[in-house]
Amino acid sequence: MPSRLFLDLVDPWINWAWLSTHIPYVWAAVEQHLTLTVIALAGGLAIALPLGIAARRWTNLHLRPAALAVFGGFYTIPSIALFALLIPYTGLGTLTAEIPLVGYNVLILVRNVLVGLDAVPPDVIDAANGMGYRPWARLLRIELPLALPAIFAGLRVATVSTIGIVTITAVIGLGGLGQLILRGLIESFHTPLVVATVLCIVLALVADLLIAGVQRLAVPWARPA
C-alpha cells in the first residue's frame, strides 16, 4: 500500500485528458479484441456445426458422449493454464490464443446444436419422411433450420464469454483490451484499466444484442407473438 500512496492521491479513476489523446491506442486494442473474438467464434462454429450434425446423423459412432466429454473437460481447464501449456509448442501469438478459445466455443456450440436438433418434434420428422425427404436432406433443410434458435442461443453465450476471456490473452502478449488492463496493473494507472473493463462489458452486451437482432431476422417463425 505505501508504495501506491502517491499515485492514489493524484490518479483519478478516469483521466479524461489522457483518454482524449489516446483514442487511437484504445481503438487499436478494441480492434485486436474483436479480431480475436471473431476468429474464436468462426473456428468454434466451423468445428461444432459439422460435429453436432455428424453426432446426430451417425448415432452408432457415439460421437455425442465422446465430444461432450472431451470438450467438457477442456472447457473446465482455465485459459491461463492452456495458454501456458501451449507456449512451448505454438509460441507467443494468435495460434496459442485461439486454440483454447475455439475449444471452449466448440463445447458451448455443439451442446446447443444437439439440444436444438433433439427438440425437433417427431411429427415434423414424420411429415418430412412422408414427403420423401432423404435423411441428409431432411437434416439440412428441415431439422437444422428448426434448431437455429438453440444454435443462436449458444452463439450468444459463446460470444459474451469469449469477449471476457480474450482479456486474459494479455499474458501471452495479445489481449486486446486485456493489454490495457495489464498496463493499468503494471503502472498502477487507473484510466486504461477502467476504460478497458467498461469497454469489455459494453462490447459483450452490444454483441449480444446484435446477434439477438440477427436471430430475429433469420428465424422469423420463432419470434414471440
Binding site: 500500500m1 501506491r4 473437460g73 472447457y75 473446465t76 481447464i77 482455465p78 485459459s79 491461463i80 493454464a81 492452456l82 501456458a84 501449456l85 507456449i87 512451448p88 471452449y104 463445447l107 458451448i108 451442446r111 439440444v115 438453440a150 442461443a153 453465450v157 459474451v160 464469454s161 469477449i163 471476457g164 476471456i165 482479456t167 486474459i168 494479455a170 499474458v171 483490451l177 486485456g178 488492463i181 493499468g184 496493473l185 498502477s188 487507473h190 484499466l193 477502467v194 478497458a196 473493463t197 469489455c200 462489458i201 459483450a204 452486451l205 449480444d208
Partner: protein, 235 residues
Amino acid sequence: MSLLQATFQWLTDPSHWQGIDGIPTRIGEQVHLSIESVAIGAVIALPVGIVLGHYGRFGTLAINISNVGRAVPSFGILVIAFQVFGLGDLPIVIALTALAVPPMVTNTYVALREVDPDVKDAARGMGYREFAQVLRVELPLAVPLIMAGVRTSAVQVVATATLAALIAGGGLGRYIVDGLARSDYPRTLAGALLVAALALSTEFLLAGLQRVLVPRGIRLLNAPASRRAGTFKTA
C-alpha cells in the same frame, strides 16, 4: 532433456512439495480462497434467489444477471479490486465473490419458479404457513437446480482463482506467472498441469456431491436448459 521430462522432474522434486512455495501450500491457498468466495457468494445469492423466485418478482433481472455476469471480464475486476484494496486476499475474495453470485442467483430463482403450482396449492391447503412452505416444500424440490448453480459457480471460481497470481496473490497460478517471468518453462508447465488437474477434480467432486445430496426422487425434475446459467466461464 525434453521439456516434458524436465516438467516431470520439477513435479517429482521433493523440494517442490514443501515450504511456502510448495505445491501443497499453493493448492491450499487456491482452495481456501475459492471456498471462502463461494461461501460468501452463496450467503448473498441464495436468499436473494429464493425470495425473488418465491414471489416471482424481478424475473428479468434474476435471469439476466448471469448474462451480465458473463460479460464482466474477471481479469479487469481482479485488477480493479487490487487497485482499490491493495495487496492481500481481500481483493481476490471480493472479485471472486462477484463472479460467484450471478449463476447462483439465476439458478436459485429458476429453481423456485419451477416448483409445480399445484404442489404449492397443496401445501397451502395442508395448512403450511408461507415460511414453512418455502423451507419444507419449495426448497427441497429446488435443491437439484440450486446445487447445479453452486457447482457452476464453484468450478468457475476455482479456475479464476488462478488469476490471483497476476495481482501478486498466491495459488497455483504463481507457478505459471513466475515460470513465464523467469523463462522457467518446466515450472510454468507444471503449474498449468496442476491447475488443470485441480479444476477437473473440482468439477468431478462437485458432480459427485450433487449426486449424493440430491434425493433420488427429484433428480429428474429439471428446468429447461435454456433458462439455467449452465455454461458460465470467465477465465
